[in-house]
């Protein structure tokens, strides 16, 4: 009786699991970009129902992360590992509208449930420490000096009820200097149900990922409530822009070598072109590539844990005229979407799949979506004492852009808020009275306790450029506060910009991080002082000690000398007496001192 009941319960649970809640999806989007670049956008999504999560029954959701979230009472988590810069002039709009990318280094923000702010801080520290162990990153360095509580920039992605929203604390921290490398990818892959052994994750190789022109790894955990019930959704995203030529170099010989002259097509229109001088002709063709070539390993079939209709696991954004050869032993399925500009492939189970695109000349280059904003930021000024920051935000669209600008500055960079200027430059309009800054949220820095938090609500008119500038002072650090590579400079976290748009979804943009040179002492100075002091002491002490311990012998005690020698000795004798007196004096002083 009991086993049958148990089986029935299991079956019901299983049916529920399949049809209602727990599932896993993965998707890879490949889009060739100008200048021989290729955008690869990996997305993995897994779910756990709130009930099973509370009972610690994990199926697709990784247990290691789930337990950390429960322990730290984190309701929503966003974690980013990024390298490089998205070249929006050449590559156009960002993937996911920038919502799945972070600033250079490591960025983390989370909604933590706590009764008081102090409790939230404690839980935040627990969370960052636990994640530092899980992801092999120095996230434990996110202390109070690197943590801020953004007001307007970040909005929760998940559904939180109002009751709990009251006790939810948003905390945000960045480590702009943190390196991102294979040790961060290893735990990232271990969180996936197929662990990089099958499915699109089998393409993720640290050697190619960390050789990319731009890459970002993201983990997003959020609660989602539907009519059937609540579930916890986890999304893992990897976006990278690969240089096709660079990626195709063999793994054991990646150093670029000159191409043999026979393989170069010369531009004969140049005046100096002759049999021994050649200007390479720029070929206006799409380069040839295949999945195995650019990712360094084959795509090992579908992940069997993927649920539902996985008809479009790998999608390719190429014009319909581009020829694509599919190489596989198993059965695959191709479907075309979006007016033939996108084709998707269903992966075979248990056999490799490769997409091969030959070199081809295209009639028209596919147009790229224009980014809604351009932003850059730099340090201006000179000297060791003070400096300035200038940020330029360009709105190329024909609508007014309303945006939130967030800066989280380290405590040793002290901005003056009264120097904050925002100037709007619209071509053809001479109106300097525009107020670009709508609202300012500010929390000043405290030395060694917290950094500056500056959040601005800005509005940029159509086709205009906003220049934001402020001055700051550089603090002088204590000797022990300097890192081992102090002369490299100190990294300042990127500014985060969120565009408030009417359409659903959030548009984010991040500037690059800044390198701030601080006045640095000569670290060998203490050693120089010690050496010099020792030398002086040795000289002084040595000569006095010499006088004290030398035994002077009288002239008459030495026999067999000439008269002249005796006279010289007599003078020496007088000198000895003088010295003797001096000696006695010094000894007497020494006794007194004792």
């Amino acid at each position: 009786m009991f086993p049958i009941l148990f089986l029935a319960v299991c079956l019901i649970l299983r049916i529920q699991a399949v049809y209602a809640i727990a599932d896993y999806h993965e998707r890879l989007l490949l889009r060739p970009l100008p200048h021989n670049s290729l955008l690869a956008s990996f997305n993995f999504r897994s779910n756990a129902s709130s009930v099973s999560f509370d009972e610690q029954n994990f199926r697709y959701f990784p247990r290691s992360l789930g337990q950390i979230l429960q322990h730290a009472h984190a309701r929503e988590l966003h974690l980013r590992f990024s390298l490089g810069r998205w070249d929006s002039e050449n590559w156009g709009a960002r993937p996911w509208n920038g919502a799945r990318e972070g600033g250079t280094g490591v960025e983390i923000w989370a909604w933590v449930e706590a009764e008081t702010a102090a409790e939230a801080n404690a839980r935040w520290l627990t969370l960052t420490n636990a994640l530092s162990g899980l992801f092999c990153a120095s996230l434990n360095f996110i202390d109070s000096t690197k943590t801020i509580r953004p007001e307007k920039t970040f909005l929760p992605e998940g559904t939180h009820i109002n009751q709990s929203m009251r006790n939810l604390h948003l905390l945000h921290g960045t480590l702009p200097h943190e390196v991102v490398c294979t040790e961060n990818l290893t735990p990232f892959l271990k969180l996936l149900p197929c662990k990089g052994k099958a499915g699109i994750s089998s393409l993720l190789d640290g050697h190619k990922l960390f050789d990319a022109s731009w890459q970002t790894m993201a983990i997003d955990v959020r609660p989602v409530c539907l009519s059937e019930g609540c579930l916890l959704e986890m999304e893992q995203t990897v976006d990278m822009v690969l240089d096709i030529d660079r990626s195709k170099r063999p793994h054991d010989n990646p150093i670029p070598r000159p191409v043999p002259i026979e393989q170069i097509t010369c531009d004969t229109s140049k005046s100096y072109s002759s049999h021994d001088s050649c200007y390479p002709l720029r070929k206006n063709v799409e380069p040839s590539w295949s999945l195995a070539e650019v990712f360094g390993r084959p795509l090992k079939g579908a992940c069997p844990l993927e649920s539902g209709e996985a008809s479009s696991t790998v999608c390719l954004d190429v014009p319909s005229e581009r020829s694509v050869h599919v190489q596989t032993d198993g059965s695959h399925h191709e479907s075309k979407l979006n007016d033939n500009t996108s084709r998707c492939y269903k992966l075979p189970v248990g056999s490799n799949l490769d997409l091969v695109l030959p070199e081809q000349e295209l009639a028209a280059q596919p147009s790229l979506a224009e980014p809604p904003l351009y932003a850059s930021r730099s340090i201006v000024g000179h000297g060791q004492e003070r400096g300035g920051v200038q940020a330029t935000i360009i709105n190329p669209t024909n609508d007014t852009a309303n945006l939130v600008y967030l800066e989280s500055l380290p405590w040793f960079m002290k901005p003056y808020l009264h120097t904050l200027r925002a100037t709007v430059l619209t071509p053809g309009v001479l109106d300097m009275t525009q107020h670009a800054i709508k609202e300012t949220h500010y929390r000043p820095a405290l030395n060694r306790h917290r950094g500056t938090h500056l959040e601005l609500l800005l509005s940029i008119p159509p086709a205009s450029t906003l220049t934001l500038s402020y001055d700051f002072d550089k603090a002088i650090l204590r000797y022990t506060e300097y890192p081992p590579d102090a002369n490299r400079g100190f990294d300042v976290a990127p500014a985060v910009i969120r565009l408030e748009s009417q359409s659903s979804g959030q548009t984010f943009l991040r500037t690059t991080s800044l390198l701030l040179p601080l006045p640095t002492p000569d670290f060998s100075m203490p050693y120089n002082v010690i050496i010099l002091t020792s030398t002086v002491m040795a000289l002084g002490f040595g000569s006095i000690f010499n006088i004290l311990v030398r035994r002077f012998v009288g002239a008459d005690e030495v026999d067999g000398r000439s008269k002249l020698a005796m006279k010289v000795l007599a003078i020496k004798h007088k000198a000895r007496l003088l010295f003797g007196l001096l000696m006695l004096k010094i000894r007497g002083k020494g006794r007194k001192a004792e």
Partner: protein
């Protein structure tokens, strides 16, 4: 017959008591900057070796003070090589670095060894050993007479190290320890040890440098040190599988001073049973993961012991279940209900950024200016009244 059997069992039991039940490795490189590539390659070579011989990532503490694999100067992204033939990628696809970058400090190292860490420290960053754990400690970097530099910013002295190990012994944090160090004047680093059961070896004597083995022209710097290279050479060629019976004596005898270009040193006097016993220890006792099962009693054991254990386990399960049932009222996720309005939490306000109102600012300045003028006026009146007298 029975007597002989019990005697055998007893012999097994005493043997078991002398053995270790877990293996840990602490692998530390202490040099930052690209030109010290070889120190990271040294430590990663040892990491690959102990991993190959069976110690899991959870029992290896790897400290890398700089990032060589993803360094912009590295022509081979995501890789670290220890040989110019570039046959083995030490970084590979599966690596877990426990302490990296600025985390590699003398303080963190000593805290790790003595387990004096904060409560938030994750388990992967702790050395969770006991008195039955064998530990391999390997260090490499730039050193001198009785010190080893950390990141070119601070030093650990031989005394600090000796005291840390003594504290570990007092806290029952190791059974036996193999200390290996590859640095200039390395043998001075273990000269101050005074706690028992440590076998120590170093690459060079006092006033001797420890040299690099060779450079890779495409990497651009030296890729491995001599002492580590010949250690690895032995481990790769002689200790091929976990069943290897090679002893530490074999390893130490393989050192050829003409090849290493310095005089490796050994220290056995701290070891419980002396030099011969130390030399008879298997290489696998420190570089591999040998899980010895220990029987608590030799003759049949307590019949009721396991039943008590089982009952205790059941109680734990019941308690957990009760806790879980009790916790049902506050599940992790809630269903949507929009009844209650959001109210700002006053306790939160003090931690937040303040909204700055520019117009309000002008008003405040006006108030300030008028207050100042009022004060001046009062003072003038007082002055006038005073002078009138």
């Amino acid at each position: 017959m029975i007597l002989r059997f019990t005697a055998l069992l007893l012999a097994v039991a005493t043997l078991a008591c002398a053995e270790h039940t877990s293996n840990w490795a602490v692998l530390v490189s202490t040099s930052r900057f690209w030109f010290n590539y070889r120190h990271l390659a040294n430590v990663l070579s040892l990491y690959r070796t102990v991993k190959r011989l069976g110690i899991p990532d959870s029992q290896i503490i790897l400290m890398l003070p700089d990032d060589m694999a993803c360094n912009p100067r590295n022509a081979f992204p995501g890789t670290v090589y220890n040989n110019a033939d570039r046959a083995l990628d030490l970084y590979g696809d599966n690596i877990e670095v426990d302490y990296r970058g600025y985390e590699v400090t003398v303080e963190n190292f000593i805290r790790l060894m003595t387990d004096r860490v904060g409560e938030d420290m994750p388990r992967s960053k702790r050395l969770l050993t006991d008195d039955r754990s064998n530990i391999l400690v390997y260090m490499t970097g730039h050193g001198g007479n009785e010190f080893l530099k950390f990141q070119d910013a601070e030093e650990i002295s031989a005394f600090d190290l000796a005291d840390a190990f003594a504290q570990m012994w007092e806290k029952k944090r190791y059974h036996e320890m193999l200390f290996m160090i590859d640095t200039c004047q390395a043998n001075t680093m273990y000269s101050k040890f005074y706690s028992p059961n440590i076998i120590a070896t170093g690459s060079s004597e006092i006033d001797q440098s420890s040299y690099s083995h060779h450079a890779d022209n495409d990497v651009g710097v030296a890729v491995i040190d001599r002492y580590t290279y010949y250690n690895l050479d032995f481990l790769e060629t002689q200790v091929r599988e976990p069943t290897s019976k090679k002893t530490l004596g074999d390893l130490f005898d393989s050192y050829d001073e003409s090849k290493i270009h310095s005089h490796p040193g050994f220290r056995y006097d701290l070891f419980r049973d002396g030099e011969q016993a130390a030399k008879q220890r298997l290489v696998m006792d420190f570089f591999g993961n040998v899980q010895n099962v220990e029987l608590e009693s030799s003759n049949g054991g307590n019949e009721t012991q396991w039943k008590e254990d089982l009952e205790h386990l059941q109680r734990i399960i019941d308690a957990a279940r009760a806790r879980h049932e009790g916790g049902r009222e506050q599940p992790y996720l809630h269903n949507v209900d929009n009844d209650e309005a959001v109210a700002s939490n006053p306790l939160l306000e003090q931690e937040r950024a303040a909204k700055i109102d520019m117009e309000n600012g002008w008003r405040r300045q006006a108030i300030g200016a008028s207050a100042l003028l009022g004060c001046i006026g009062l003072w003038l009146v007082g002055f006038y009244v005073d002078s009138g007298k």
